[in-house]
Subunit: 438 residues, 2 copies
């Protein structure tokens, strides 16, 4: 993408309404623009990050055996009456009346709809277990939306729903998602700590929130440093290994972790002092086991293995995909702007041409840009070097390939790593290899 | 995907509500399930097709220089008041009141929102031309939704919006999309004929519908056979070549093509009789040039090149992405089921195991499935061969790799091409090579 032709606007001033770093930086770096209170349009750079986050979530869901579907945004009120949640949900639910005066709503979550879909097709225990997920826009009519996409009204969520024959099966499904979540967040460069949680309006028996650390987080958190040092991708356990996964889950959750709501000071005192971590956190995922809470009222029953009728045991598993974009910035920024982790960056590099019109500089930049293709943006604007440096820092590309007339003449590129500020003079070939290597 | 664990349900009976082939087959093949009138959930196979269609649309938009953004589904009524369309749109617009009694709506199209976004950032003629598109769910509250996803209420649309300095620039943008559309539909194996169209509620001066032929189409169509024989991918014209693209556009549109609404019998009589084609068609795309119809009332003005102020000339360009899935089936099916074109098929092949439990058959199937990976589904169910054949024909995988004990013993696979019914006994290696080759 050539910046001279791109729609990648940046703002010099910080919009007054933004109270936290991620909100400020998302507006200044041109990732999103608010179109109504708590509702955002995603501009090209923001959308690329959103899609990268979504793709990591998708890959880890698929890897754990979940299957992707896509449920609509608009739901009928009927199923919510059957589950008993239509009134409970209160004013956060965006209620809609269509032209035929039917009561509809913009889905805030999908337990009812997915249970009803599954009921159409699943006839016997041989159709279990299944885990269906989708990544779709949701709406919660927050009374006071704020913090940009962190607490917006229209937001993108991944929600998965598992169906099992019995409680033991459902617990295995729960642990599969538990492991998938640890891997998902780690691939984005985040330390997400699973904490026992209250089940809230979803209901149920067992629940964990996944919380990443950030000063602006909504909850206080207390956890054992063990969570920071584990590489979950290398966790020697398969999501298909029932016994191994159970042992893994028990081992991980032995380490203390709790939000202030669930904090247990007696247990906390047992954690060795040097391993105690306190701070504030942002919830980026939430998983629930709730048994037959939805299957029973919605009439989901199957033929059991022994001629009986069974009601499947269910769980649901959410990840705030659009919220993660904000959370990633909270965890990765400095005064100058965003520092995208390689795995989610909108482009791996910016090629900065410091003297547009100089033949040698233009030639080197064009050849770098041609080699990097869709991995790079090319700042070919007629603009001051200072403006190009500032925009590249603000937009947070992991690499900056800086080319001026002197470097070009010497066959050298100045390669800057945004996360650390390290700089090196390298050949164009080395620059390309480093950028491609992440 | 192993069918024994997959959520790929098929129905034996045709649901009573389905009047046309695509609707019947989408329900029977488990592509979608209706969740409310005119509102559908996409099940795994349907979602994969939808994503393939979406990706072809995206690639051709990118190739033509358009840039992807994502606007929200819920819009404020304010901008629609400013453009004068809030009242005009009538009952097809799903109107919503939020908890603070603000008037909102579920966007049926995005001219107002995109103009307002562009206005925030575009300051001068140097910010032109730009073409911004998104692929997002829309809602039109059809009084009588029918034909499944062909005329649903919640539907996925690609809509692009171009901004140019003057009318000549806007006409070039229009022609860029015209060529991109021809290429897009052709990549899906469809003959889409561009027809001069009425501009309807979008308004404007110039408009073409892109129509594919199908007996169940909503309009009668008349066109020159020249449209059937052209390979647009090979059209020797770049979307950046202003003069060449204009000449191309004029050459193509010289050939007669019109819906019954716009039909001109005098001009039709000039078409040589052997080149006259009549039939019914389905609209899958619609492009508009409408000048300053939205920019002017919404106050989008920029600094011109000579110190003046200019109001950009705009166009908008839609493709019905979810509708295309239905249209593709209308154009590609027989009595037994769907015949997916290779470019959009949910999976390239089904591996049919005719004797689950037979060691040789199982081994050959497993090795085919391992080699094909995500390109294949593996029918490993304990089911009769007849059921497997019927389901594979119904779901329309382009290839079926059929393995029974006799073939396995002889080292042979029966490879069936769904589109033609051709069958051949081949080695597993040849089967894999053919399936991978499309």
């Amino acid at each position: 993408m050539r910046l001279s032709r791109a729609f990648l606007p940046t703002l010099k001033e910080t919009p007054a309404e933004a109270q936290i770093a991620s909100h400020r930086l998302m507006l200044r770096a041109g990732l999103v623009r608010q179109t109504a209170a708590g509702i955002y349009a995603w501009l090209p750079a923001g959308l690329r990050v959103l899609r990268n986050v979504e793709q990591i979530v998708r890959e880890e869901q698929d890897r754990a055996g979940a299957q992707e579907i896509l449920m609509p945004t608009i739901q009928s009120a009927e199923l919510w009456r059957a589950s008993g949640r239509y009134e409970d949900y209160g004013k956060e639910m965006l209620r809609i009346t269509d032209r035929h005066e039917r009561e509809m709503l913009f889905g805030p979550t999908n337990e009812e709809v997915v249970t009803d879909i599954f009921k159409t097709y699943a006839k016997s225990y041989r159709d279990l277990p299944r885990n269906l997920y989708h990544i779709q826009w949701k709406f919660r009519d927050e009374v006071r939306p704020r913090f940009g996409v962190m607490r917006g009204r229209e937001f993108l969520m991944k929600d998965a729903y598992s169906f099992d024959l019995d409680k033991a099966g459902a617990e295995h499904s729960y642990r599969q998602m538990f492991l998938a979540y640890l891997r998902t967040f780690q691939r984005m460069g985040l330390t997400a700590v699973p904490m026992r949680a209250d089940t809230g309006p979803i209901g149920g028996d067992l629940s964990h929130e996944f919380i990443i650390l950030a000063e602006t987080g909504e909850s206080g958190v207390f956890y054992d440093a063990a969570y920071e040092s584990t590489d979950w991708a290398k966790a020697d356990v398969s999501t298909d290994d029932v016994g191994g996964l159970k042992a893994f889950f028990e081992r991980v959750t032995t380490n203390y972790a709790a939000t202030d709501e669930m904090h247990d000071t007696a247990a906390w005192d047992q954690v060795p002092a040097e391993r105690r971590r306190e701070g504030r956190g942002i919830e980026v995922g939430h998983i629930f086991f709730f048994g037959t809470k939805y299957a029973a009222p919605l009439g989901l029953t199957l033929a059991g293995p022994d001629g009986t009728t069974v009601t499947p045991e269910m769980g649901s598993y959410g990840i705030g995909v659009s919220r993660l974009v904000g959370a990633l910035i909270e965890a990765n920024h400095d005064e100058a702007g965003i520092k995208w982790p390689d795995s989610v960056a909108p482009w791996a590099a910016a090629v900065l041409n410091l003297r547009v019109g100089d033949a040698g500089t233009d030639a080197m930049c064009e050849s770098l840009y041609a080699a990097l293709g869709d991995q790079a943006v090319y700042d070919d604007r007629n603009a001051r070097a200072g403006e190009k440096f500032a925009d590249a820092d603000l937009m947070g590309f992991p690499w900056q390939a800086i080319v001026g007339p002197r470097g070009a003449a010497a066959g050298k590129v100045e390669l800057k790593r945004r996360a650390t500020g390290e700089r090196a003079e390298v050949s164009p070939e080395d620059a390309i290899a480093k950028i491609r290597g992440g």
